[in-house]
Symmetry: C2
Subunit: 154 residues, 2 copies
């Protein structure tokens, strides 16, 4: 409590640049997905994760963890996606409490249709701006942040 270690100029510049850019990027991605496919970024991530999962299905909790959204937030989004026929709910064979979110064929098609535009934006506004070395640094740094944040959340 004696003294706070404030951010020096370099640190402050890094934090500010990170904050501003991450918000702008998120806004732009959200905007593109909404315009092109009527999807939230969260919804897109859900479809993408399911698509990559074995059997195109994942437990709700696991999915929420992966997408980084609250349990109730995931329930809400799965409701939306189910109403649009992009996802189905299925009971979990090994645990009666559990629910499996399953990607439907329509969901897979929607993802296929939407992915190119999404990837283009991600490239244009992030990936293609980085040298291979910078890309590697970003991966390393952000993995460290993930670890630290998950540890702090216990």
């Amino acid at each position: 409590m004696t003294g706070t270690r404030w951010l020096d100029d370099r640190e402050m510049a890094a934090w500010k640049a990170y904050l501003t850019a991450s918000h702008l990027l998120e806004r732009r991605v959200e905007e593109q997905l909404k315009a092109d496919a009527g999807l939230t970024h969260a919804q897109y991530e859900i479809l993408a994760r399911l698509s990559a999962a074995p059997g195109r299905r994942l437990r709700m909790t696991e999915l929420a963890h992966g997408v980084v959204v609250s349990k109730s937030g995931l329930t809400y989004q799965i409701d939306r996606l189910e109403k649009r026929g992009l996802v189905e709910r299925s009971t979990c064979p090994s645990d009666d409490r559990g629910v499996l979110a399953v990607l439907t064929d329509r969901g897979a098609e929607c993802l296929e249709r939407t992915a190119p535009g999404h990837v283009a934006v991600v490239r244009e506004l992030l990936i293609d701006l980085l040298t291979p070395g910078e890309l590697e640094t970003v991966t390393r740094v952000m993995s460290r942040v993930e670890t630290a944040t998950r540890a702090a959340a216990r």
Copy 2:
């Protein structure tokens, strides 16, 4: 439309790590500010920007631009902060349409009280995890992202 340049493994790893970590970090920052001061991260950023501005005041539009929030979003947050006495609205002398958001003494005190805990989290979950070189890379990269995103938003 012929072919999409998909993300290769390295690129995908970078994007995934970035996405996950940035969401987790945002969540944690939000949580800390809410618990310690009853503030949103957006609200904290507003107070911080005003505090650093000459005369502790900024035009609404300028502030919205800096904090990366929509005009209506800023109106809402300034309403909240005004009700708590942390910010005041003042007419702009040079432009009758304009509104100046002004940090009050109470607002400054609130910021002073809140800043140490906030900085601690930012350090713990980001800044202190980076080497000086990584810090510099993050700043450089994210500045580039900001430029690209703002350019794309015209």
